[in-house]
């Protein structure tokens, strides 16, 4: 099972090493890990995507909780959380393929960031699924370089507005 764990930590040097070390020394797999300051500059938020059955997840959460620098650990439930990723893709293009690439990018609401003679750089944000789908469509044109940020995620407010941005989930 794939899990997205949100970890609120003290914004201090060494914390990232502590957390990633915990995963590696126990042989837990990390698919992606993102980290950045939160609205409180003394506190950072990490989003960790990991895999494992319930007992592994249970240990991961407990071990994270044990770290002195960790303030809060949440396993974000799929239904009630928003997950986003950003990806930069440099794709090969010729005069013949340029329009087609731009059209696909447009459908995905991706942005063209840089236009060169032989390539285009496109920025896309969205769910991992949406990004994966976009990458698939770009592959035939030949992707030259790519950088993905890994998932960032947050819990939704649990009220009637929840589920509002479902169109984003649908890969627009």
């Amino acid at each position: 099972m794939r899990h997205i764990i949100s970890v609120i930590v003290e914004n201090k040097f060494g914390v990232l090493a502590r957390i990633s070390g915990l995963f590696s020394s126990r042989g837990y797999n990390i698919d992606s890990l993102t980290v950045g300051e939160s609205n409180d500059p003394s506190v950072s938020r990490m989003t960790i995507v990991t895999r494992g059955d319930d007992s592994i997840l249970d240990q991961v959460m407990k071990q994270l909780n044990k770290l002195v620098d960790v303030i809060e650990v949440t396993d974000l439930p799929r239904e009630n959380s928003v997950r986003r990723e950003l990806c930069l893709i440099k794709v090969k293009c010729t005069a013949g393929t340029r329009t087609e690439i731009l059209e696909v990018a447009n459908v995905f609401r991706a942005k063209t960031i840089d236009v060169g003679h032989r390539s285009l750089m496109i920025q896309i944000t969205g769910t991992e699924g949406k990004i994966n789908a976009f990458i698939k469509l770009m592959e035939p044109f030949q992707i030259i370089e790519m950088a993905r940020t890994g998932v960032v995620a947050m819990m939704r407010e649990m009220n009637e507005t929840a589920g509002q941005e479902n169109n984003e989930q649908n890969g627009q």
């Binding site: 040097f13 060494g14 070390g21 007992s55 249970d58 407990k62 909780n65 002195v68 620098d69």
Partner: protein, 560 residues
């Protein structure tokens, strides 16, 4: 008034009531040592190796319940502490280890004697700090002591760059330690799970209490005794829990696991309820998981949520301090009457005591331990090395009180016992202290004889000298066709002369009839003594569960 970082360091030790500090100097910590020179209220003990400084601090902590403190220089000094820190981590021992570091401006440049000790010790510490600014020394040290000694205790490393310890600033001591936001100390459990536990106990026909080091850490031995008597349950204590329940009590069934007693292992196999208190279901205890406590519900009481359900599945999890939780349980749990289970266990205990050939006329290691027990009337502090010596000590010395058995449980560190004995003796000057040692292990920190002589410590080292790395040899005998590869250590110093060379006493014993007098003499000598017992070379530790087997397959040995 402005004072230097080194003076602040010493002031902080005073504020934390540190009476004793084990360590070894070096270039970047000279400023700290310079201030310790005048600090007559803090006893600095110079060990002869930093590993021993860490173990001594650990032994001191286990004997006294206070936080052990050690200090080493940067680079090689710091890396020499690593085994001692890992050892304290595995056994949850409160310890603060100070290391010197190269100046901030040189960190990361592969400077002379630089090692990234916070990086190296990250997986083996409860927490660690690199102090980057003189103004942070006081708050960091106060936090370090707080973290090391509260909750599930553990070692904390504080790395002090030289320019930080020579910087000058106004000293301000935080009266309340500035605890990190996320630091949690569970104490009491919610009443719902206490109720659940009480109900499970009420309906249980065959309960077993399984108590570990958590009993000793939280000082819960009285509560445990009252609890066990209230519910009339047999009690097994782990290696770390020895002394947490009186060994002379009729309910005590011995230690479980690989070298546990037959009764303890069968009690696990047949019970319908395990009440685990401050014990972590180590693989040396459970044996093959599938065969462990197959018919039992498990209640697991532990301070560390991550220890619960880590190795075995648990039915009722109770997070909190062992003493507090037992107190809560005692308020609600109904007395449970004795039944056939109690009779069954008591009968089994009578007929299945660990034993050895007492009539061979050959000097047996078990006999030596029994005699140490007799002579010291069970009142000594016993430290051990690792190997057969450790198991003989745990099986044949009976501990009625906590903090009397000091041994490397989780890491199994050869070379631990002697420096730990030094720490214990300094913490408990009036106690009779014995390190029960193997001839292999003792040579891992034998240089500490100099420390013991210099500090005038009456520590006794009882070497169970079999001229083998006995425990490994035993496995080779039983599972590798007696191919004694790398375990024969016949080339040895003359331990008596060695002791004398250091200015200590040495006594060699070959015959059973000389054992008692030698032990008595050693105790009467006011200074360190090596007792070199030349024991039966191929004696084995029984009972034993073969590695990978379920504990129901307890072999009681070839003789019993």
């Amino acid at each position: 008034m402005k004072i230097s970082g080194s003076e602040i360091f010493v002031e902080c030790l005073r504020k934390e009531n540190v009476e004793i500090l084990f360590g070894y100097p070096g270039g970047v910590v000279i400023p700290l040592f310079d201030k310790l020179y005048d600090a007559h209220d803090i006893h600095f003990v110079l060990t002869r190796h930093e590993q021993a400084a860490a173990h001594a601090a650990d032994g001191y902590a286990r004997a006294t319940g206070k936080t052990g403190v050690c200090l080493a220089t940067s680079g090689p000094g710091a890396t020499n502490l690593v085994t001692g820190i890992a050892n304290a981590y595995m056994d949850s021992i409160p310890m603060v280890a100070f290391t010197g570091q190269v100046p901030m401006s040189l960190i990361g440049t592969d400077a002379f004697q630089e090692a990234d000790i916070t990086g190296i010790t990250r997986p083996i510490t409860k927490h660690n700090f690199l102090i980057s600014d003189t103004s942070k020394i006081a708050s960091t040290i106060s936090q370090a002591f707080y973290i090391a000694s509260t909750g599930r205790p553990g070692p904390v490393v504080v790395d002090l760059p030289k320019d930080v310890s020579t910087g000058v600033i106004d000293f301000e001591w935080p009266e309340v330690p500035p605890v990190p936001k996320g630091y949690k100390i569970p104490k009491y459990a919610d009443t719902a799970c206490i109720g659940e536990a009480a109900e499970a106990i009420r309906v249980s026909k065959k309960p077993l209490i399984y108590a570990g080091g958590g009993i000793i850490i939280s000082g819960a031995e009285k509560e445990l005794l009252v609890f066990a008597e209230r519910i009339n349950a047999p009690v097994t204590t782990t290696l770390m829990g020895l002394g947490g329940f009186p060994a002379s009590h009729p309910y005590w069934v011995g230690m479980p696991g690989m070298h546990g007693t037959y009764t303890a292992n069968m009690a696990f196999t047949e019970c319908d309820l395990v009440i685990a208190v401050g014990a972590r279901f180590d693989d040396r205890v459970t044996g093959k998981i599938e065969g462990f406590a197959p018919n039992a519900k498990i209640i697991h009481i532990d301070m560390d949520p991550a220890a619960i359900a880590k190795n075995v599945e648990v039915d009722i999890a109770v997070v909190g301090d062992a003493r507090a939780i037992l107190g809560q349980l005692l308020e609600v749990v109904e007395p449970r009457g004795r039944n056939g289970w109690n009779d069954y266990i008591e009968k089994m205990k009578k007929t299945h005591q660990p034993t050895y050939d007492r009539d061979s006329g050959i000097l047996k290691p078990q006999y030596v331990v029994e005699q140490i027990y007799e002579v010291t009337k069970g009142e000594a502090i016993i430290t051990t090395e690792v190997g057969q010596n450790q198991m003989f000590a745990s099986l044949y010395y009976k501990f009625d009180k906590p903090r009397r058995f000091i041994s490397s449980g989780g890491l199994g560190t050869m070379g631990y016992g002697f420096p730990a004995a030094i720490g214990a003796q300094l913490g408990k000057p009036d106690a009779v202290v014995f390190d029960i040692a193997g001839d292999g292990s003792i040579q891992m920190n034998i240089q500490e004889l100099a420390t013991a002589v210099e500090q005038k410590l009456p520590v006794n080292i009882a070497i169970l000298n079999n001229q083998y790395l006995g425990m490994v040899r035993q496995w080779q005998e039983l599972f590798y066709n007696k191919r004694y590869s790398g375990t024969c250590i016949e080339c040895q110093p003359d331990f008596v002369k060695l002791a004398e060379a250091y200015g200590a006493h040495g006594i060699r014993v070959d015959k059973p009839e000389d054992v008692r007098a030698a032990i008595e003499k050693a105790i009467s000598i006011d200074g360190p003594v090596i007792l070199d017992f030349h024991v039966d070379r191929e004696e084995n530790v029984w009972p034993m569960v073969a590695p990978g087997a379920p504990i129901s397959d307890t072999m009681e040995g070839l003789l019993s």
